[in-house]
Every structure is written in C-alpha cells, then in structure tokens.
Amino acid sequence: MRHVASVAGRELHSLFVSPVAYGVLSLFSVLAGMFFIIFLNVFEQYYFMLQRDPAQLASLNLNDGLLREFYGSLSIVLLFMIPGITMGVYAAEKANGTEELLLTSPLTIWDIVLGKFAAGAIFIAVMVGIVGLFSSALFFYGDPEVGRTASGLIGLLLIGWTYVAIGGVASAIARSQTVAFLIALVGSMTLLLVPGIAELGIAGTAPGVADTLRYLSVQLHFDPLLSGLVDTADLGYFAIMIGGFLVITKAIVESVRWR
C-alpha cells in the first residue's frame, strides 16, 4: 500500500510539474463552461417555449433538461482527453529507461499498476470536481435533485476511470506516446460504440451475440446513472471493466521480463 502511494505520488508529481496537467485542466474547464452555457441556453428556450403548456412545463426539470445533456457531452470530452493524460504512464518509463529502475526495485507489479491507476483516478476526480462546481451553480438558482446530480457525477467518474484503465493498457503496449494515445482513443471508442455496431451488423443474424455486445457498451451502463438510477449491476460492470483492464496491464508489464 505504501508503495502504491509512492508510485501514485510520483506520477501526479510529474503531471503537475509539466504543463500537461494544467493544459488539460484548463481546456477541460473551458469546454465544460462552454457546454454548460450552451445547455443552459437551450434549457431557457425550452422553458419560455413551454410557458403556454403547463403540463409539459411541469415535467421539465434541470436534471433531465440540462445536467443529463451536460454530463453526456462531457463524457465525450473525457473520451478524447484521457488518452492524452494516460499515454505516458508506461510509454515514458520505457523511453526514460526508468522501467528498469521500477522492475529492479522491491516493488511488486501490482504496486506499479495500482499506483499508476490511482494517480489517473485522482486526476479524473479533480476533473469531475470541476464539473461538480458548474453543477452546484444550479442549486443557487433552481432546485435540481441532489441524488440525481450526484449519480450523474459518479457516472462521469466511473466512465473516466474506465478510460484511464484502457489508457494504461495502451501505454503499456506501445513504445511511443503517440501510438499509446491512438490505441487508447480507438479502444475507448470501441467500448462506447459497440452497441451501434451490434445493432447495425449482427442483430438480425445473431441476436445472442448482439445482446452480449450491447451489454459491453459503456453507454448502456452510464445512461441509468444519468437518470439517477444507481443499479449494482451497472456499478459491477464498471468494476469488472476497470479490474479487467488492470489485470491486462499487469500481464503486459510483467511480460517485459519474459521477452
């Protein structure tokens, strides 16, 4: 545990002494702000449009009308930004030659893998914290449901952590950071777009396979959280995905020794 913290600490240290962390956080804040304003305007227009229709107006709320769209868009922003954060975690160690230092230190492979994941997880938590700040502004001017807002943020956190785990696999495979970025992006997109592929391609011919593929999609398990539905099955899905990618990362890092 002490070793995990040491590895995570160094990883965060490197992120924050380089401009990468600040660049990513600034860009993310700007994008989050833009989306927030856009969806706020959309919501406002709906609100005025529905003034003549009290029944519809009653069903309009900040969670469905604004936060759901806001979080949904940010999950796409995360999809593109996280590979940039994770691309270096293992690829840079290989480039610096520090891989040899890590693997000849009294650390287990799990210390390394968990430490690096923890650093990424903490960084994503900071990003989701920024989203939380924007969301909290709504509590001053309206009354969104606390529970649904929180579950949406949890969903964003879990989807981010899943992408971090995928990014770790990509960085462990790749020798260069650019390749790691691309593999992570393609991998994360695949996990997001799987249901579309299932629907289009094989739903008619092999419904069983299509159902399985659809189940694998991140979106399918993110949506309920956006609606405020915290189901252990969805949480389990994220746990299995993150755990699975960490196990794969561990195997890849270990395989360096056997080459």
Partner: protein
Amino acid sequence: MIQAIGLTKRYGDLVAVEGVDFSIARGEVVGFLGPNGAGKTTTIRMLTGFLPPTDGTAVIAGYDIFSNPIAARRAIGYLPESPPLYPEMTVRSFLTYVAKIKDVRRVERRTAVDRALERTALTGVERQVIGTLSRGFRQRVGLAQAIVHNPPVLILDEPTAGLDPLQIGEIRALITELTAPSQGEAQHTVILSTHILSEVDAICRRVILIHQGRKVVDAPLSELTSGGRTLDQIFTQYTARDAADPAAFPAKPIVESESGSAS
C-alpha cells in the same frame, strides 16, 4: 554476497548467456569484462531481477532471486547502461522517490538522500531539474540513485560510457571512493561491467571475462598480469580466438579457484 549459479538466457535458439557461474565475496570489487554483445548486460539484468534466467539462478546477499525476489532486489543498487532518470523531476525529489520505493524508512529518508547527494558531489544541483543537467551530472544522479538505500551490493553497467575523459575521471574517482570502506558506511560489493580495460586496471582487483555468453576468465587481476602480460593482451587472446580456427588455438580458460567453482 553475489552468487551466480549456472545462469543461462536463451531467446529461442539464440543463446545469450550460457551456464555462467561465479561467486563474489563481501567487499570484493570485480570487473565484469567482455566485448560488446558478449552477454554482460544480459547477465547483469538476470542478477538484478529485471530478466528471469532461462536456467540457473542467482543468490544476492543470501536471497534467491526466484524464491525471494523482493529481498534480493532490496539488497542491490543498480545503475543500468543508460541511467534511469525522470527528466522532469528535480535531483532531490527523484532521489527521495527512489529512497521510498527502495524501502528506506521514512525517518531515515532525508539523511539517506543527503548522504547520496554528498557522496556523488551533487549537493549544489539538488534543486535543479534533471533534464537540464549535463551528461556527466546525469550519470552522477544515476550513481546516487543506486546508492541512496546504502545497498550491500552495487551493480554498475558501463558507468562511464559516453562521457568525456574528464567526466570519466570523476566517475572513476567516485566509484573508487564508494568501494573504499569509509566513515562507518557498509562496504559495498561491486560488479563493474565495462569494456574499457584501463577502468578495470584502475578500480578492480578481480576480473571476470565473458565471451559469447560464457565465462572464460575468472581470476585476480594481479595473477593475470603477473606474467608481464597486459589486460589488453589477455582480453584479445580470449575474445579474438573465434576468428581463427578454435581448435588451432586451444586456450584453456583461466579460472581461479577463489570462487570455489571451476568451469
């Protein structure tokens, strides 16, 4: 302190290292010689636990690298061929991190880092970012990370490669100082891999020469050069013989019995 027992590394059909045995006692300073590609780095990587041997094993400070890898690695200070450094960290923060992952206790960490900085003459640049340092300084930081946890075993893989003569002199002086028993420091047992023979002359008392993955010479330096031969001639004799017909040059390996094993 360091025991290699039939260390072998094969990559498919390619044999990189074959049945290397040796035993190095506490406080010995051994020059590990061989031409480029002889298997020096591979042997060293097996000793440090970076590469698992295909066959054989090694025992470091009493710990087997297979059955007790963590304890064995804790006993080693290792400077790989290219020093493992994070260019974005400062010298001090890097050494503190290495001290952490090498299990230096929290209360002793500061003194350990201070001592390593002092012994490698880096105290003046401790706040500098490693990426901005010159090559000679980086090599010193590499040495500092190897000794920060005061390990009983020090393994240095070509520590002077790519340095200018002045820097080579500095690093050599540093290694000599590290290997001399001083101010209550535990005496290090050192393996120094190199293909620069004058380095061995200057620092080491015993020589292990490997060629094509096998150990061909293992003897004290004084004994090797007693017949008036230079290390140069010995090196050439054992490493060039494959150029001629091997049968025509039946040089019997000189293997000293100090290690208790003959090959």
